[in-house]
């Protein structure tokens, strides 16, 4: 294996964080005209705008660092499936409102810890993006925690449904705390976040909210991994980029 340069590692790192934002933002945006109430529709679209906004800043930074004349859109629209390194948790289908809330909660709890740490990065640009994103993800965490509690402690039906969502999605949480080679390399310079160190706090936050929601923390399952480290996705991901990249692939090289 060829040695990873620091520059390539940084490009990969920024893009990979961006991938998380874009893909979960894509999923949130799929709720348009499908939510249980008009107010909730508007709320999820706000989340989608925040998350896709984060992706844009990170892709732009990756493109600038890479210095090959690329833009945010090259990262979103012209990379292949294996080039995307988003967490699997961000790409699984929306399912019902409960699945969506559980995913948003698990990711937001993670994002808050992650961006808080990233705000201390030695890389000034990443630190700035981290600092700005914290405010957004704190709101997502608040919104999704409250909903998780309403569903968990709502009706017997909602309790059962959301416990099932949690049990199903739990297998994807292991990947949140894995390190790529690029991360390990950049961690040594104080640029990347040590995500393994976020696990204890995350467990605490999650278990606090689940307790309030009268839900049970699932037993640890064999973790589903593969996307973050190698770009090996779920079957669902191909459909995301088929949809997303259709215009750019069909009409290459156009201004939109």
């Amino acid at each position: 294996m060829t040695e990873l340069s620091k520059k390539d590692a940084l490009v990969q790192y920024a893009a990979q964080i961006g991938d998380n934002g874009l893909i979960i933002g894509h999923r949130m945006s799929e709720w348009c005209f499908r939510a249980p109430a008009l107010e909730m529709e508007i709320a999820l679209m706000n989340c989608a705008l925040d998350l896709i906004g984060q992706a844009r800043e990170l892709y732009t930074y990756a493109a600038v660092t890479q210095d090959e004349g690329k833009s945010e859109d090259d990262f979103a629209y012209l990379r292949d499936e294996q080039d995307f390194r988003n967490l699997l948790l961000t790409e699984v289908p929306n399912g019902d409102w409960g699945d969506t809330i559980v995913r948003l909660f698990l990711m937001s709890a993670y994002n808050k810890l992650f961006y808080t740490a990233l705000a201390n990065s030695k890389d000034a640009q990443l630190a700035a993006i981290g600092a700005k994103s914290i405010k957004e993800v704190i709101y997502h965490q608040r919104f999704s925690s409250e909903w998780l509690i309403r569903l968990g402690d709502g009706t017997p039906e909602s309790h059962d449904r959301v416990q099932k969502s949690l049990d199903t999605l739990w297998a994807y949480t292991g990947e949140l705390f894995t390190m790529t080679d690029a991360e390990t390399l950049l961690l040594a310079d104080g640029i990347a976040v040590d995500v393994t160190a976020l696990k204890a706090d995350w467990d605490q936050v999650v278990s606090d909210v689940l307790t309030q929601a009268t839900l049970t923390v699932p037993a640890d399952l064999w973790p589903q991994l593969g996307s973050k480290a190698e770009g090996r996705h779920t079957e669902h991901f191909g459909f995301i980029i088929t949809d997303m990249q259709f215009m750019q692939r069909r009409y290459p090289g156009c201004e939109w």
């Binding site: 107010e39 909730m40 709320a43 706000n46 409250e146 309403r150």
Partner: protein, 95 residues
């Protein structure tokens, strides 16, 4: 339609420090937190606010339109409550 609709909340927003909260609409929400967040998501998309009040609509008591005359018109002839009622010569300075 057996389902009971989430209650209605009136939304008041302070657009910047130094100004009063002003009524700007309503949202449906099952509880106060949800109402607050819905108000934020719906009514401050363009940085219209720095503070929000949400109040259950049914908690507001309003004056009745047919009482308008007896409630408000008696104030109309109490013009001595206004500073312009009084003539102060220019020489007395700003007052």
């Amino acid at each position: 339609m057996t389902e009971k609709e989430w209650p209605l909340w009136e939304v008041f927003i302070r657009s910047k420090a130094g100004l009063d909260h002003k009524h700007c609409g309503s949202v449906h929400a099952s509880d106060a937190e949800m109402a607050m967040e819905a108000a934020r998501d719906v009514y401050t998309r363009r940085s219209e606010g720095i503070s929000i009040w949400v109040v259950p609509s049914n908690a507001i008591s309003a004056s009745k339109p047919e009482d308008k005359e007896s409630l408000f018109e008696p104030a109309d002839d109490k013009i001595y409550r206004h500073p312009t009622f009084y003539d102060i010569p220019k020489g007395a300075g700003k007052m």
